[in-house]
Symmetry: C2
Subunit: 234 residues, 2 copies
């Protein structure tokens, strides 16, 4: 919704900043890390892409606002999401002072495919490694989220959240490799992921594709995703 404001509109007359949430929604699609972006059709930055976001309503929590923004664009609820950082330089939105609490979320693309009509027609999935200029400081926010995602891949095991319900270890490894931009040793990767005990075999095997069929795994809901790293002090 937009309203008309006078020519002499002066943002500083509002002594309260506006508060929004913006969500960096990642998924792994076509062997690529993609982020969900929406077209803006209002000034400023019309025709630039932006992160999905929303004003924080007066009676909802920040987490709720982020979940709502995510659901508006994807139709999904109850996905992995966490608060990222709060961005609030005075000039990040040229219209008025806007402080945004950024979130990041990981969703399996299979859920989107299941209900394709629930995804907003304005939303599109763009490769994180080939981002266009985004509106506001959203490019910076997206890259901050990527850094956080890489960091989390290293000390926890949230990688599954980006993949379909069932997947092979090779597919999981491929996702790690593409996001981290490096190759990993197959045997060591498997040993560590399995040692973390966050996966369970489904008993099924992947039928399509060439070569020997791969075992299919899924995430154990009861598992704790944090992998203990060595501590600095014992």
């Amino acid at each position: 919704m937009t309203i008309e404001v006078p020519e002499n509109y002066d943002p500083s007359q509002f002594d309260r900043p506006s508060v929004t949430v913006d969500v960096v929604i990642f998924s792994f699609i076509d062997n690529n890390l993609k982020v969900l972006l929406v077209e803006r059709d209002e000034a400023p930055y019309a025709e630039k892409l932006a992160l999905p976001g929303s004003f924080v309503r007066i009676n909802e929590s920040l987490d709720e606002a982020a979940a709502r923004a995510l659901a508006d664009e994807t139709g999904l609820k109850d996905v992995y999401s966490e608060q990222l950082y709060t961005f609030g330089t005075p000039d990040r939105d040229p219209r008025t002072r806007v402080i945004t609490i950024a979130y990041f979320a990981l969703i399996p693309y299979s859920l989107i495919q299941q209900y394709p009509d629930k995804q907003s027609p304005k939303a599109q999935w763009i490769s994180m490694f080939n981002l266009p200029d985004l509106a506001f400081d959203h490019g910076e926010i997206a890259h901050y989220a990527l850094t956080r995602l890489r960091y989390k891949l290293e000390y926890s095991s949230v990688g599954f959240q980006l993949l379909p319900d069932v997947f092979t270890l090779t597919e999981l490894q491929r996702a790690y490799e593409i996001i981290l931009v490096e190759t990993l040793d197959k045997r060591n990767f498997r040993r560590k992921i399995l040692a973390a005990k966050v996966l369970k075999e489904t008993g099924e095997k992947k039928k399509d594709g060439e070569g020997r069929p791969a075992k299919l795994y899924q995430y154990r809901d009861d598992a704790i995703a944090e992998i203990k790293t060595r501590r600095l002090f014992p």
Copy 2:
């Protein structure tokens, strides 16, 4: 000119939340981790202690607002400070909707002692291990900051920021032990701290105190405080 407004926009009411910063300021005083708290003299929570904080002004960044809040209570500028988390449940302040961006800061008590008159008379240093009930959700925020501090002690080496300009390794170890609530091995502690190359000897020795005089160290400004931990994947 048009601007975007919330979907539930109602011009007759103020639908913008207030935005504040609150700062958890730690120092190590009298062999204890202490946090700087201020007396409130207005309702609600009059006579309860609260974190130092301030409304975010319309033309200052969040970092600037936090630095200002910190300087108002301590007289100090340019101290270690970072954004912690943003708290925004609708009822955290009973008067009105207030979203607060929490920061945490580490300062050496010696700086306070140097200019004692610059510290606000309303401010007091309270043991983090014996906190009274604080106003709003400030108790929760302070404990969140403690968790972050402990975590940072383990993978980086920010411990010095809590100590005077020069200190002995035993004093530094004592601080780690008290904050982490565990005893550390003296030889292993020294080896790791020195291997991180964030300290330099001053050449001086501590003269007072009993026993053999200890070498005095200070922080190397050019050092990088992050200690590399083992990565999950090579």
